[in-house]
Point group: none
């Protein structure tokens, strides 16, 4: 006789959200293939059947997780208001924001990692992700132009290349932290190491971008 026991929430949005949050955690920690539906159900406080009720299957649930992860970073980026700052400050802001965001959202890095393993097949299913990201590049382009007009920045810089570089400098250090620490026998996860990394990255990007005074 199924369908008795425990207090039920009867709150569609809440249940959906709890499942998504649990799925984000599990997928980030174990990757797509390693994630377990059972464990997501437990983590969510709901049950397996509900995952299939709200999301069609494991794959669709993962797509929803990825969309949500991108939406979250996009929302955070749009709070930066980079165009309100002086070009140099704007670049510093973008670097430290990227760095801080990756540090506080390790699940984002890990989800991206997982998604790369699958040749972005899940992201390609999503229509929303593209548009918002392009806005960031537009903003960065505007910053570069302003800096150039002020004779501060060099010309001919592709904003997408620059964005990828900024992201890559943070990403590789953090995403590969365990591997790098093991391989180079040096703990790269200490607070001190992190401060040094942020400084190094800022030096690199501005050292490249700024015209010698």
């Amino acid at each position: 006789m199924p369908g008795k026991s425990k207090p039920q929430t009867r709150n569609k949005e809440r249940t959906r959200f709890l499942i998504l949050a649990a799925a984000t955690e599990e997928f980030a920690e174990k990757g797509f293939a390693g994630a377990r539906i059972e464990r997501i159900a437990e983590l969510s406080g709901s049950n397996k059947r509900m995952l299939y009720y709200y999301y069609r299957n494991k794959e669709d649930l993962f797509v929803a997780v990825m969309e949500n992860a991108y939406k979250t970073i996009r929302d955070a980026e749009s709070e930066l208001h980079l165009l309100d700052f002086h070009p140099v400050e704007a670049i510093r802001s973008l670097i430290s924001f990227t760095w801080d965001y990756y540090i506080h959202h390790p699940e984002f890095l890990r989800l991206l990692n997982t998604e790369n393993l699958y040749h972005a097949e899940h992201i390609k299913q999503s229509k929303n992700i593209g548009f918002y990201n392009s806005k960031l590049i537009d903003t960065l382009n505007e910053i570069l132009i302003r800096g150039q007009n002020e004779k501060l920045f060099r010309g001919g810089v592709d904003p997408l290349q620059l964005y990828i570089s900024i992201a890559g400098l943070s990403y590789f250090y953090l995403s590969n932290n365990d591997t790098l620490s093991a391989v180079f026998c040096r703990d790269l996860s200490t607070p001190k190491a992190k401060v040094e990394r942020l400084q190094h990255m800022t030096d690199i990007v501005l050292g490249y971008l700024m015209l010698a005074g």
Copy 2:
């Protein structure tokens, strides 16, 4: 029952190697959890039982794959003889080598990706990996010192930070290529895009490293 099945190879080293090569392909393509023992056996032209004969289990096989992947890139790097070049050329060489190696060994990037997902737990089991990598940092350090002595490079550069930056600039672009292309609606895998990326990375690193003037 004579002549019933295919001729057997009876070649210990060859079978071991074929299994390792097949495992590298499968683990790189699908990740650790997504990889299938069955498929590795097929790819290797051998059979499942042999995997367990030569390697104890899936995990040990993965460790062997990772060790081999690192050994391969180490061997390639040691062929560079960076110290035979002028510091600027040495840096250029290291950047383009890293870039080319990643391009021609996508499986290395993907294995690294997978290993990061597992918090480097397999690499930590290996003793060989650490030593060789440290040699590279020593070499890079020597290059930086020489460049500084020639008043070409800025001082105070941590060779490990620099190495991580050089690797990260290539890695993020290539490893996330599918995702970035999807998200920014721009094909980053064309030959032209790759040439531009290499130029951009070299500009960034030398722009940062070299003293003006």
Copy 3:
């Protein structure tokens, strides 16, 4: 929360009927085990809870479907007024009625099929079905007697055997149509094929029944 969902029908008989119709469709198409409660709810325009409100469970719903299917064919048969016709015409009528009914009610054939798979266990639960069917055999018996009295029909014909034969000649052709067409590589569902079949069946039954002139 006013006006939140669709307008409710609040019509007891209508809802019951819509559920029964939907269940007939689904059970006929998928069989008992293959039928889905969820789908019946959708098809009916109602919801799952209502199925359990009006019918106790899946099995009872199937019994109701079977009873209704038999009631429908019985009602149609009683409209035939076979006894108003000359014996030969009455037999012709019965054959073509059976044929036409099966053609226009494929769900009846499929439900019967399903019920046979379950050893008639659902029909046995119903009390109404037996009586009405017996009336048909009585009628057929009367027709046979009349034909015999007129020296048209042979004697010693069991009306039940004859009925089963008439039904079987149509049933097998139609129920197995897909299978037969596949197995004998000949499309038995064309209008022409159907006309030929009716002629053949009539020839067989009358050829057997009628005394040579």
Copy 4:
């Protein structure tokens, strides 16, 4: 630690056969949707994993069952050597063979029933079934011609129609036996009832076929 316990057979063909036999029983008894993989595994004396090892999935296993069922009846039919008999005897033989085969192979009727529910989709996947069945129709055609040449049989009889009629007369009676017995309140499964049915069917077919003499 999987993979220990119980004595293993290590006989490919035997295991395959035992699974097929068990599947035939379960599919015939419960239909496709009602059949349980677990139960087939038990019946076969093997285990679930083996079903997927030899047959890809439930559906392919069912296709294999259907092919085997057809192959079995075909093989039996070809043993009849109908062309060695006088046309009238050949027809009698075919009728009684069909009847007896259906009686002794209720699983064949039930599988056919199930297949019809699925619109012959599994049979359509099989290539072998068509050819052998056509041979039967050729044989029947030859019998009809011979009977006609001897002025015993009427002309213009389509052998496929006749075959379908012969099969249908047996099939409907036997396949629907439970349902008919319930609906007409008469036990149609007794030995006496069966003898009468065979007589009736023979009377019908020959009554139709033979010219009055």
